[in-house]
Symmetry: C2
Subunit: 330 residues, 2 copies
Amino acid sequence: MEAENSFISVDWGTSNLRIRFISDPNFQIQGEFFYNHGLKKMNEIWKESKEIFPNKKNYLLEKLIEFIDKTLFEHSNIKNIIISGMASSSIGFQELDYSPIPLDLFNPNIILKKIKWKGKTISLISGIKKNDDVMRGEETQVIGIAEEFINQEKVLIIIPGTHSKHIYCKDGIITDFKTFMTGEIFNSFAENTILSQSIEYDNFNDEYETSFISGVEQIKNGRSLINAAFKIRTNDLFKINSKKDNYHFLSGLLLGEELLKIDLSKTKKIIVYANPQLGKIYTMALKYLETNKEIICVTEKKLAKSQALGQFKIYQQSISEKSQLSNYEV
Amino acid sequence: MEAENSFISVDWGTSNLRIRFISDPNFQIQGEFFYNHGLKKMNEIWKESKEIFPNKKNYLLEKLIEFIDKTLFEHSNIKNIIISGMASSSIGFQELDYSPIPLDLFNPNIILKKIKWKGKTISLISGIKKNDDVMRGEETQVIGIAEEFINQEKVLIIIPGTHSKHIYCKDGIITDFKTFMTGEIFNSFAENTILSQSIEYDNFNDEYETSFISGVEQIKNGRSLINAAFKIRTNDLFKINSKKDNYHFLSGLLLGEELLKIDLSKTKKIIVYANPQLGKIYTMALKYLETNKEIICVTEKKLAKSQALGQFKIYQQSISEKSQLSNYEV
């Protein structure tokens, strides 16, 4: 592909904005830029200048081009911008309906809206839904790793985060998924409850393994999360554990709660899609819970590329459809 | 008893201060007064005036007498003040060690510290502990209802709250107890997470029964709390439930999580010690979870009296002990 087939890959989430310049073939990332201007912050800024920019969508489109320009990457001949993440939610440009599952990872039919803006074509990718769950963005990452990691087997992909996602695939099709509020509940326990006084952050290392596993064990042994968590207070009161140990005990409790009820009948191998540190503790917990499945850690280095690849596949799928014209908005 | 045997019953907790004037026999409550000056607030006020009052214990003793005077209840001839609750913790007058379980409710041997102050004798009651749990105050309430409600059977007493307590008794002895962070986690979900946008408070009434039971059902069916809670977001996104319904769904989730794993082998009847509204939803949840035990709701009207009675029994037990002198501090 020449510049005509290159594109700008944008991941605009609640907290961050990532802009990547991609040239095909082989999805070379020519440039990668990060701004902490997520859509939550952008919405607040917009509200303050609402009188000058009454149309939020136009305001965000304007700002997106400004951020792209700010990278100083030469992009005048790149016409395509593809965006996934919360940009298609109520806090983004425009709220798009979710596409239902099952979703074929190799022919991903996801709602995509095209917007012409200042000589560029912006393709806004929606998310997916089932009767009681939703996601925006993670499905794009999964599509991007499908060819490399997802075959005809039953695979569970775990994407840890504020809202961890468990995505079940069978024969290359997303058949089910579940959201666990792991990261958010962790922060909320650590910051907003009585436990905040008994917890101190430290990076995971081997000396915390006992505390971490002890947390997983509580859940494995059938103890309720909201009861077991109080152990952090007594661990501190009775000086049984350090505050740093308590941090990793809480981490063990929450990973235990997230991973205890994995549907093993729907899983032959487990892919953990995370940075090496998170990958390590997820693997430890999965092994301790005796899931007895092959575990593959896909590091974040793969993330940028797989996200861009996923976006491009959804984009290609959308232009191969007859319905493409109805996607356009000028 | 004349005034000599009357006493001032004080429950000084984290958030509130309750002062009651008791005359024996029959534990008539002659006067009951409430201040929202819990020890958390008092500690903050003290820190500001630390230079004038360097000794926190003396400061709190001084303030307690001021609050008692403020009630305008004639108390010059009442010499005994008995205090339970967080007053014996690190945020109170003086941190007392917890007494271990098992604890005989009919001969309650709990650490009690006597302090002479301005013509009064102040008896500070400690709490109880097991290897990984603690409480301060609830055991006093249980001692107070022991004669009326707790016999030779196996009884579980549930005291809902910020930190709900499950207290297992056998033959009138506390053999085990567990703390559930139900109220605190509820608030933390409702105020500090993404769910806050999808929840609106309303008093429980019959129209919310379906939503409440639906929450309990999620947990009963084996769904993880941190996964099921995300249903509140989709209930709102998909407009399945009102925000008020979501409030009671979350309440059902948390009561389900608290009540699912009750140790039924240690329970013949369940006493729920709460206001009528809480008593009602706890009873509903317990029945839905098919605990199949007799449930007795002890209303809060009993609370004041039983707390005072519990305090008096601990006090009497302490003066019947040889060790009484060592309890004194002048």
